[in-house]
Symmetry: C2
Subunit: 460 residues, 2 copies
């Protein structure tokens, strides 16, 4: 039963399991205590910090452990912003950051701070020019992920870090998705990571704050972890996390090449096997193990269920698979199709045969879902003479509005228009994306009594 969602959470590495077992006997005491159990716990924690710092590329006294990657990001952003409050209250971040960064930004904005969001191109790569322009004098902090968690695109961290240094602005790098593969190059100021993404246990994140970076921890003070992370230290989990990081790093270079090849196979074969699919993300500057594509006329939730029934666990950024019923902000910022979205992220050690079987299963699953939904055939039928058609897709959820549009479009002569009434948020993204994929013209959107009206002109 292949699990292809390593980017959500990687299965526990066997080395982490062993380290956890061993340290449960040794590392449970309070490292602040003077007696032997406390001193032993302190020694183990110090050793773990040293090993983690080496893997991250910083000094041990620059690194603290947090209860999660999310809390590392929250603590890093709030501490850096507070320390530079006198400089200004502008927070610069890319449009495709992880939700933990975006939610920190929301809090900052609610407290009177300002945000500058740097756009990304169609591959999901943040514009370094955009960063350069956004680094105004009142900028307190900039945030850029090392690589995107949904589409795998690597970000220009080194370049942006250099610009930030020149501008005197600290850069926080959310390295959650890339730490397994290596340290983050460049002269960043703060860095956050999450152990369960690299095969460590849940309950461990890390935050590095390089010397010379002003930092003022927020929230109730706590003496533990240099005052940067509150609560009793989870030493057995920390030891397991660090053991896993060292273990995955030992094989990372070799495994990166292998998984890069398997992902390349998926990137090539999916469009051959499945009609009307858009593979997104940068094809070259990307994480080795992650690929995302969207399938026209498919709803993500049903596709995920079909794949799950066939034994494959994958993730999706489609609106129907999120609790808010809005599509992934990453796909939205990239301006790519979000319906029928599938993210495949291969855990280290994934067998080649499983990838091949996935490709077979995928083609069948997409066909099944399209048939269930009554999606149009990919062969284009002859146009009918009707013009100025209106499609009422109000109350219909992704991917139904696009399916309705495609069906009617086939009956409209070249030059004719179709107006789609829809109140599903995904339509705003997916109708223009469908037009691009099909070579049709997206005329525009206007407000309607309910939802919006999207006008499309037939070009081919």
């Amino acid at each position: 039963m292949p699990y292809f969602d390593a980017a959500s959470s990687a299965p526990l590495h066997p080395v982490a399991r062993e380290a956890l077992m061993a340290s449960l006997e040794e590392g449970w005491a309070d490292p602040a205590r003077l007696y032997r159990e406390g001193r032993r716990a302190r020694m183990l924690l110090d050793a773990a910090r040293e090993a983690a710092a080496e893997a991250v590329g910083c000094r041990p006294d620059e690194l603290v452990f947090t209860p999660s990657g999310t809390q590392a990001v929250h603590a890093g952003i709030s501490g850096a912003l507070a320390a530079r409050r006198r400089v200004g209250r502008r927070l610069v971040l890319s449009a495709v950051e992880h939700s933990s960064v975006l939610h920190s930004a929301e809090v900052h904005e609610a407290a009177g701070g300002t945000l500058a969001t740097v756009p990304v191109d169609r591959t999901g790569r943040a514009s370094s020019t955009g960063f350069a322009e956004a680094l105004a004098a009142d900028t307190a902090l900039a945030c850029l992920q090392s690589a995107n968690h949904e589409v795998g695109t690597e970000q220009p961290v080194e370049e942006v870090a250099r610009m930030c240094r020149e501008a005197g602005v600290p850069l926080l790098v959310d390295a959650a998705q890339s730490l397994a593969w290596g340290p983050v190059a460049g002269d960043w100021s703060l860095l956050a990571g999450s152990a369960h993404k690299w095969g460590g246990p849940a309950g461990v994140g890390l935050l590095a704050v390089r010397k010379g970076t002003r930092f003022s921890p927020q929230g109730p003070r706590d003496e533990r972890e240099s005052g940067r992370s509150s609560g009793f230290e989870n030493i057995p989990a920390v030891l397991a996390a660090v053991a896993a990081l060292r273990a995955v790093r030992a094989t990372a270079a070799q495994e990166a090449v292998r998984l890069h090849g398997l992902v390349e196979r998926i990137r090539t074969r999916v469009p051959e096997l499945v009609p009307d699919v858009e593979v997104v993300g940068d094809p070259l500057r990307r994480l080795p193990h992650l690929v995302t594509f969207s399938c026209l006329y498919v709803d993500g939730e049903t596709l995920l269920h079909e794949l799950d029934r066939a034994g494959f666990s994958v993730s999706s950024g489609s609106s129907c698979t999120s609790s808010t019923l809005t599509p992934s902000h990453v796909l939205k910022a990239m301006g790519v199709l979000s319906e029928g979205n599938v993210r495949v992220s291969l855990p280290m050690g994934t067998a080649e045969a499983d990838v091949d079987r996935f490709l077979e299963v995928l083609a069948t699953a997409v066909r099944t879902v399209r048939e269930k939904l009554g999606a149009p055939r990919t062969e284009r039928p002859a146009p009918s003479p009707a013009v100025g058609r209106v499609v009422d897709a109000l109350g219909k959820r992704c991917p139904l509005p696009v399916i309705e549009l495609a069906k009617v479009m086939a009956k409209v002569p070249v030059g004719g228009t179709v107006t789609v009434l829809a109140d599903d948020e995904a339509a705003r993204l997916d109708i223009p994306a469908w037009c691009t994929m099909r070579g049709q013209e997206f005329v525009g959107e206007r407000a309607a009594e309910r939802g919006a009206a999207y006008v499309v002109r037939r070009r081919v």
Copy 2:
């Protein structure tokens, strides 16, 4: 090598270890995901929540898991205060709360809120009349621990909860020290707990917010745990924590009687074996496994080292054992001696023979430390005619100022005074306490050029 510091952190319960091992295979995936690994993780988390809620005495949908007890307290206090901001900004708390509560209170005060601290008596028990008086109309929240973490005294939670209900004020109970022994009785509104105190792993706390309690989570939002605790759920640790809680509860009633007896033995024997010792805390309304006493003319750090060398791990609230070099705020609020302070907290299953050996070892250890420090003999020598003596203890750390005082006091006639000049913070607490223990009169304290001058009159 007996470990007598369960109140800091209890060794991992064997059942917790087993549950952790088992669930590492099952519970590592993201419980928000739709595929089988995610659904299984969700089921495990739901089951753990149900079992935890039963043990706490609340509904499952009232309880969330946090990364630590500290964070449960921080989140509980900030969420309750924010939700009642319109009612007022007064926070009422006892003087002997855990530092996690006090640090939350500091943040509240720094943000413009007000604090009302309810005093405790000499046993460390908070005055319920004091709470009644403090519950003014603008009170947003009251906090009272179930039992004190340093001296074991149980607090009048049921009575205070009733008063709070009548006043329409929510009561948050920090139940970290007592949850192993049973649920907290009374109509509290919020409750916090910490798994590593009951034999669960580190990395798990719990926060219960009873229905009808207004609550507004602070900090960056996160969809996990009803928005009340951020970061990826640590399901294996949660399962282990809940398994441990159920296991300790199964034997709690029986074990409470046994440990209560062993602690009673310590309470009785210590003053018989060690001269000049003050056993503190309520002798009856107390945790079954915890006892604290202070030894005159002894410094806590040296005593802890002596006991550690003899194989016993205990804790201390003496100033010399804290990083801030101030004595425990609990002992201070109680007005009892803080020098040579020892807290013994017996883990479940402690052998009777170990307690007996501890008593032997303690007597020797205290004698050794007193000899090293040149403390006065407990036999009272004949008074010399000197009057109005001054003792310069400036720059000397606890317990030296009290030792100097005692030495000189022996040479002063009844009715004569001794003025002690001291700049050690512990002297402020320990000189009056020494007077009470010795039947001498503490005349008062006045500011001096450096530190303070403490005046004592010989009465006996």
